[in-house]
Symmetry: D2
Subunit: 256 residues, 4 copies
């Protein structure tokens, strides 16, 4: 399989994992380890904006193997996002930033205009910008032109577990994009992660579905397997859908 | 994971593979090996009703590891099916029989009445009967009562690759069945196989999607991984779907 | 528009309406009148098996305009169904019978084998048999051969309002049937009734969606309009679906 | 039913019709008349930018009854859109403008940033702006704040006839919007138009599905009926979907 490269860094795993909503830090760490993910999102609130990583979570993870992806969750516009990204760079010692600007507290959907504006600024400032956005193909092209390292269109509203409700638009985005496409938000089951990969997505980000599973560690493994399966199927070449049945077995009548 | 038991035989793999439509026997064998399947369907036409297995296909497969599942494809009613099953028992030396009675040559959909009748007779004759049928929950209960070893409801018409179009009914079948439920027909991508397993299906049967893939061996591996992922997710406990967004990251406003 | 003929009787309306679940008989009557339906189902329990129609419901409906369609709801097998049909013929003075055999009290799904058996017997006895069944194309052909006046495949389990979950199979049934196809059960919104008609169904049966609506009379009108719209669209010839956009407006660049 | 008001004008019909793709102007006129639409889109190319309406199409339509909605199709950015709107105002003598900015010629998807910019400018210039956009709830709020008279989110890419692929997002837009929501693009069948209205959309715009139908005039009537049915159902209050069956008929066993 081709490797995924973002911001000059190579990733063997195509499963990105979020760190919110776990019932304990210990469980989160174990799930992340089991997932074999090499890119994990971290909320800045976790470190309370102190300039050192005091959160237990951060101390046990091998950053040679795992890239931290701080997100800007909680900011309301481009200006706040840029400020947050600068803090983040100091705190976490990384240029990677997951840009999340969602002014509406109910559905947490991203703001396309502020996201584009912040992407432009942050890219100029040397950040590796991964913007979380609607599955809007034109916006994705503009983010790419503005210097985004990837685009991260959503499959369904965050935390709904509804899967690829934006499938028709994800297909267009994947077809037209020159930067990696990572499906973010809405993926609630390994089958949905596999579906995203079969469409040709470069990676998926999963958080809620692992964190709130009955057994988060086993669910992390299930997602790992499903992402591999989906990517492998994409590379192996899936068949088309047909209206009529296509017999698998010879059909000449049995007793002729 | 709990093991799957059918006809007194234990199966580690929950992926059943069909042997039709491959471009060569060699490719078929390699794909089957890669799939790690322990149950493969074989059409009786393959051996031309001679009483010995002359087909190259059959000679290279280790029957200690792999159970042959001859199918009755081509028969039009219960009477022909019973006759075919008897031939099959002699030819293949197994009591396992995949019952397929589909009089209509266009969509190859199964006949519920003849299938039930044949199941009753074959079960009495000591066969391990795996009937291929519509995703009809009442019929499934009647087949179970008639002695079917499993039920094999279809996801979509054979060879269409449309996936779980019968999902609402599969859920009911799985909930109510006392015998293993194997989703047969229509599964066109690993994500769809994973979805069936997440619903709680005991196994899936895949043929076309592997056989006609750009790279059948890689696709077989992808299905193997996806089936494992789906089963693991089912056992780990998937979350519900929500209408409203559920934030993964702390949302207290950034600059407060 | 071509008229619908069942049992030698011509129907201008393609909306059949059920009479269960209304909060009052008065509301039911008004809704039926508003629907302009010419075929309404009646449960035999309504008349308590007395040989006269004492139910208020029955007295106010003009049977020259509206065909009563008694159903056998509550029977568990063919034998009971035949008995129920005979009672029904005496009570209601009609040969029309909606055959419903659903032994399972949870999902109320029809029994294919007993339904076929009862259809055969009732057709021989001169009944106009409208069997309620799974969307099983092979079963539909066998019912047709057994003398069914129509087939009534379900869209989704009764009362779920889920719409045409069996769409793929309804299409095949419609394509292959020589008797009218009436989609029964699961239709929860006028849009879903329209969709069934667009596929080429000859009629739809709606009950729950009208009876439990905020305003059942207005909802009955909405279904009436939607059924007409769907049928008209079917006859006018719908376009295909496309993957790529098809511009509606001239696209030559504006300022060239 | 409540009336729809846009730009101070009241509309009895909630079906907007596009004028592209018809095989003749005569057929277009007849279809528009049959649709009873009071808002029809016109492409500026149709009048070749001459300052008089020479197109036959325009001369036969009663503008007291029908509002012309010129669109900016063909422009690539906000600047061109503003220029086009000004021409349009002169040519058509109306402040109504359908804002369409889609730089990509393949999928004709709208540009969110340029659309917002043009909306701001045109609203300040006194235009009644109806922007065509992605089903992006945050963008819709921003367009509303910028002075848009309505929002016109797409159901699927233009001309694909795929229906409400953006359904999850349309629901949020409808819930949150203070201006009328008109579903534009992708609606390929009357059932889909009814579905949009059932969700609570204020109107739908249909073009391709009518223009390319086997019989465009009949299809226009079908859409008219379906839009009415869907709106009526929305106002009458639709029931919820259920997982379990809900019996319509009394279920006490028949022969007890």
């Amino acid at each position: 399989m081709n490797k995924l490269v973002i911001g000059g860094r190579e990733f063997s795993s195509r499963l990105f994992v979020g760190t919110g909503k776990f019932s304990s830090n210990e469980l989160m760490e174990k799930a992340i380890e089991a997932s074999e993910s090499e890119m994990i999102t971290v909320a800045m609130k976790r470190i309370n904006m102190t300039h050192e990583a005091t959160d237990d979570m951060l101390t046990h993870i091998d950053r040679n193997r795992v890239q931290f992806l701080p997100n800007t969750s909680g900011v309301r516009n481009a200006e706040e996002a840029v400020l947050a990204a600068q803090f983040s760079r100091e705190c976490f010692g990384t240029d990677f930033i997951k840009l999340e600007i969602h002014p509406d507290p109910k559905y947490l959907l991203p703001d396309p205009v502020e996201t584009l504006k912040a992407t432009e600024q942050l890219a100029k400032m040397g950040f590796v910008v991964l913007p979380y956005i609607q599955a809007d193909p034109v916006l994705c092209k503009r983010l790419e032109e503005a210097g985004a390292a990837t685009v991260m269109p959503l499959g369904a509203p965050i935390g709904t577990n509804k899967g690829l409700r934006t499938r028709d638009f994800l297909q267009i985005i994947i077809e037209e994009s020159n930067v990696p496409v990572i499906v973010d938000a809405g993926i609630g089951a390994p089958s949905q992660a596999a579906e995203a990969m079969e469409l040709g997505a470069d990676a998926v980000l999963v958080n809620t579905a692992i964190a709130v599973a009955g057994n988060p560690v086993e669910m992390a493994i299930a997602f790992k397997e499903a992402v591999k399966a989906g990517r492998r199927a994409y590379e192996a070449g899936l068949g088309a859908q047909y209206h009529f049945a296509q017999a698998s077995s010879p059909l000449t009548s049995f007793l002729d």
